[in-house]
Amino acid sequence: MPYNEKQPVSRPQATVMLSRVAHSLYWMSRYIERAENTARLLEVNQQFILDFQGFDDTDLKEHWGSILASAEDDVLFKTIYEVADSHNVIDFMSLDSRNPNSILSCIFAARENARMIRDQISIEMWETINELYLFLKGRSSTEIWARGPYEFFEDIKRHSHLFQGLTESTFSRTEGWEFIQFGKFIERADKTTRILDVKYHILLPDASEVGGAVDTAQWQAVLRSASALEAYHRFYVHEILPWKAAEFIIFSETFPRSLYYCVTRVDEFLCRILAETGPRRRTAAARASKRLLSDLQSLAINDILKKGLHEFLVETQKSLDHIGDEVVQTTMFYKAEVSSEEQQQQQ
C-alpha cells in the first residue's frame, strides 16, 4: 500500500523518563561544562604566564602546581610527568586520555552518554557534541602547539556555548531539561570553587606584595577564569581587591557563574526533580541543598576569610558531591525489589 493516505498517529506523551536516560543527560551536561571550565582555566593561566616573563622555573612550577592541586589531579600528574611546566600541564589537562578529567576524556564521556540517549536529545545537540568529538579525535598535541593552544581552547569553549544555546532553544522543558540544568549548575558550582582555590594554593605573597603587580594580575586571572572580570568591574568600579574579588565570585546574586547563583539554580532544579514543594524538605538531597544555600545566604565574606577560604571551599565541594550523589540515588530504582517469584514460575 502506498502511503499517500497517511493517517496521523497520536504520539505517546513524553512524560516518563527512564532513570538511565535521566542520569545520562545529567552526566552529559556535567562533562561538557567541565571541559569548558578546564579550557578557560588553562587558557587564562597560559596567558598569565606569558604576561610574566620574569617567572623563573620555581614560580612556574608553583603556579601550575596550584592549578593541578585545585583540580585534585596533582597525584596522577606526578605519576605520568616529571616537570609541571606549561607544556606538560596543558597536555595533561587537555589531551591526555590517561587523565579522566582532561578535556578529551570529558568530551568523549559526554559523547558516550549522548550516544546512549540520542533519541532523547535534539539532532542539533547531538551534532554539536559529535562534531566536537570528531574535532578532538583528529587533533594531536604537536598540532595544537603549532597553532597555539589559545585557538584550541577557543574551539572548546565555542562548542560548549553552542551546545548550551542549542539545548536552550531545542530541548523541551521536561524532566530531562531539569536533569541537564541540574548537572550543569552543580558542575559549574564545583568548578567555581576550584578556580577560587587556585589562588589559595599559590603561596601567600609577602605583605608588601599584597596589591602589587603580581597579586593583582593573579586575582585578575582568577576572575577571568570564571569569565567574571568584566562583570566584576561593572559591579565594583575600583581596582581589584582580593576580598572583593572573592566576595564577588562567591556571593554575586546576578552573575551566572558565582557560587551563590549556581547553588540557587542547583536547589531550584533539584526541588523540581524530586518534587519538593513544601517548606520542609523530604529527601536527604533536598535538605543538604537547602543547608548549603542557607549558608551562602547567611555568611559574609569576613566569616569565610576568618574560617579560612580554602576550608570553606573544600567543604562546599564536599556538599556538592553529596547532593549530586543523593539525587542520582533517589531517582534510581533498583532491580533488587524484583522478587524471586518470577524465577520460580518459570521452572
Binding site: M1, P2, Y3, N4, K6, Q7, P8, V9, S10, R11, P12, Q13, A14, V16, M17, L18, S19, R20, V21, A22, E112, R115, M116, I117, R118, D119, Q120, I123, W126, E127, N130, E131, L134, E175, I273, T331, M332, F333, K335, E337, V338, S339, E341, E342, Q343, Q345, Q346, Q347
Partner: protein
C-alpha cells in the same frame, strides 16, 4: 568533464540504466541527461557534503572485531536506483503474498502442524531448525501476527527478473539508511528529485508505530510501546535510536525493565511504568535469561512469563526465526500454494537442500559451480561462492556440508543486475540487491522503495556492509513506466 562517460559498458550483465543495446531505459532518461551535463567537480562537492553530513549526524554502523575505528559510515553512492511504478506493483503484491503465507505457516507449525502432516514440509526440517521454539507450541500470539516487521532481500537475474534471495524475519536492519539516504539525496539533488515524481518513504515510522500499537494487549488509546536494544555496542545502534526518535517512544535496555507479577515495567525517575508492547531488536536467545540463554545480560528476567500471560506483546513474535532458516526458505513457494492456493508471484532462487540425499549428492559434485550457504548465518558470513573460490576453500566447505548437511543449502549463482556506481573516479557497473521493508498490522504495507545495497568491489556479488558493501537511494516512481 561530465561524469557520465559514453564508454560506460554493461559487460553483458543486466544493467538497471542501459539496455544490452546501449540504450537508456525510459525511467532513467532524465537522470541520464542530468549526469551527462553534471561536472565532476560539482559531483564531488555534493558527494563530500553528503559524507560529511552522515559523519556529523553519526549515521554509522559498528564494526565488530575492530578495536580501532568501531564506528563507520555506510558508504553511500549518489546514483539512485530507479524502479518504475508498474514494476513496483508487481514486487509489492508478491511481497504481500509471501509474508501472508509465511505468517500462516508460523501459526500452523506452532499449532496444528497441518503442513507437516500433509508432508509438504518434512517435519525433520522444523524439528531441527535452530530457531524453532517448541516451548511456544499452542501459544497464541496477539492478533495471530508473528511477523510484524520483515525485510526481504530481492535480486534481479540476467533477464531482469526479480527473485527472492532470503526473508529476514528476526530483526531486519537497514531501514534507517533507507530514510537517511532519501534525506541525503533530497539535499544533494533537489531539482532532479522534485521533478521525478518519487513515491515517499517517510511514512514508515508512523506505520510501524501504528502496527505496534495494534497489538497492545490492554487496548486503550495510549499503550506504552518501547524499543528494546542491546545497547550502544550493537552494530545497528544508530538505527535503534533513529527509529525510537522517529516514533517518539523510549529506547530501553534490558536493565531498564523489570518483571513483577508477570507484568513488565520500566524503571523511570518517577517509579515503575507498565510496558505494553516491546519492539525488540535482540534475538530470542537473549530475551530472557530464565528461559533462553542463562548467560545473557541483555535480556529481562521473567519477560517470557509476562508474554505468556498476555500482559505484554513482542514484535516480532518469539519463534519467528524458524521461518527465515535458509532451509525453510526453499519451501516458501510450496507454502504459498498450500495456504493461499496461489502461484508465487516472486520466484525463489533455485535452491538445493543438503539434507536431501539426491540434492546433497548434486551439491557435493558441483560445489565449484554453486553458492553454498549456512542455514542460519547472516551478514554474508558462512558462505562459499564456488566459482570465485580456491580448490582448498571448496574442499573445506565440502567437508562441512558432508558433516552437517541440515545446516547447508546451495543455490545456482545468479549474476545480479548492475547499476552505474561512482568508483575510482568514474561511473562503472556494480552488482546490487534490494531490501524492501514490509509491515504487518491491521493490514500488510510495503514501503515503496527500500535499501538498495551495492557491492563496491569490482566483480563482487557480496553486498553486505560488513563485506565492503555500500548503499543507494531507491526511487519508486509514481509513473507506471
Amino acid at each position: 568533464m561530465p561524469i557520465f562517460d559514453p564508454s560506460y559498458s554493461t559487460d553483458n550483465f543486466f544493467d538497471e540504466m542501459m539496455t544490452s543495446k546501449g540504450q537508456v531505459r525510459p525511467h532513467y532518461d532524465r537522470l541520464h541527461k542530468r549526469l551527462g551535463v553534471l561536472a565532476e567537480d560539482d559531483f564531488n562537492k555534493r558527494r563530500a557534503a553528503v559524507d560529511l553530513a552522515f559523519l556529523r549526524r553519526g549515521v554509522t554502523f559498528t564494526v565488530y572485531n575492530d578495536s580501532e575505528g568501531t564506528e563507520r559510515i555506510f558508504p553511500f553512492d549518489l546514483i539512485p536506483r530507479i524502479i518504475p511504478g508498474k514494476e513496483w506493483a508487481h514486487i509489492e503484491t508478491g511481497l504481500i503474498q509471501r509474508i501472508t503465507a509465511l505468517n500462516l505457516f508460523l501459526h500452523d507449525i506452532y499449532h496444528d502442524q497441518k503442513i507437516l502432516k500433509d508432508k509438504i514440509v518434512p517435519a525433520v526440517q522444523i524439528l531441527t531448525a535452530k530457531h524453532y521454539r517448541r516451548e511456544f507450541m499452542n501459544f497464541s500470539v496477539p492478533k495471530n501476527i508473528y511477523i510484524h516487521i520483515c525485510g526481504t532481500d530481492l535480486i534481479r537475474d540476467h533477464d531482469g527478473q526479480y527473485l527472492v534471495l532470503e526473508d529476514n524475519l528476526r530483526c531486519p536492519s537497514g531501514v534507517s539508511y533507507m530514510l537517511e539516504n532519501r534525506a541525503a539525496m533530497r539535499r544533494a539533488f533537489p531539482n532532479v528529485f522534485q521533478s521525478y515524481g518519487i513515491q515517499p518513504v517517510e511514512g514508515y515510522s508512523d506505520q510501524l508505530l501504528k502496527d505496534l500499537r495494534y497489538i497492545a494487549p490492554r487496548g486503550g488509546s495510549k499503550p506504552n510501546v518501547v524499543l528494546l536494544t542491546s545497547g550502544i555496542y550493537n552494530s545497528a545502534y544508530f538505527e535503534h535510536t533513529f527509529l525510537a526518535r522517529q516514533m517518539g517512544i523510549p529506547i530501553v535496555e534490558g536493565r531498564d525493565l523489570i518483571v513483577k507479577s508477570s507484568k513488565v515495567y520500566m524503571l523511570t525517575t518517577a517509579g515503575l511504568v507498565q510496558v505494553d508492547v516491546i519492539y525488540r531488536r535482540i534475538d530470542d536467545d537473549f530475551l530472557d535469561p530464565y528461559v533462553f540463554r542463562s548467560d545473557s545480560l541483555l535480556g529481562v528476567p521473567g519477560l517470557v512469563s509476562a508474554y505468556r500471560a498476555g500482559n505484554v506483546s513482542i514484535a516480532n513474535a518469539i519463534g519467528t526465526g524458524v521461518a527465515d532458516d535458509k532451509a525453510i526458505y526453499a519451501f516458501v513457494p510450496k507454502m504459498i500454494k498450500y495456504y493461499l492456493d496461489q502461484d508465487p508471484i516472486l520466484a525463489n532462487v533455485p535452491t538445493y537442500l543438503a539434507s536431501d540425499p539426491t540434492e546433497r549428492k548434486y551439491i557435493l559434485e558441483n560445489m565449484d559451480k554453486l553458492v553454498v550457504k549456512s542455514a542460519n548465518e547472516a551478514g554474508g558470513y558462512g558462505m562459499l561462492i564456488g566459482p570465485a573460490s580456491t580448490q582448498a576453500e571448496v574442499a573445506d566447505f565440502r567437508n562441512k556440508v558432508a558433516e552437517n548437511p541440515r545446516n547447508f543449502i546451495a543455490q545456482d549463482p545468479i549474476m545480479l543486475s548492475r547499476s552505474p556506481t561512482w568508483c575510482n573516479g568514474k561511473l562503472e557497473g556494480r552488482h546490487i540487491d534490494l531490501r524492501p521493508y514490509i509491515l504487518y498490522g491491521e493490514k500488510v504495507t510495503v514501503t515503496p522503495g527500500g535499501l538498495t545495497r551495492v557491492a563496491l568491489r569490482k566483480g563482487s556479488l557480496v553486498v553486505n556492509s560488513s563485506q565492503g558493501g555500500g548503499s543507494k537511494d531507491t526511487w519508486v516512481l509514481r509513473a507506471e513506466s
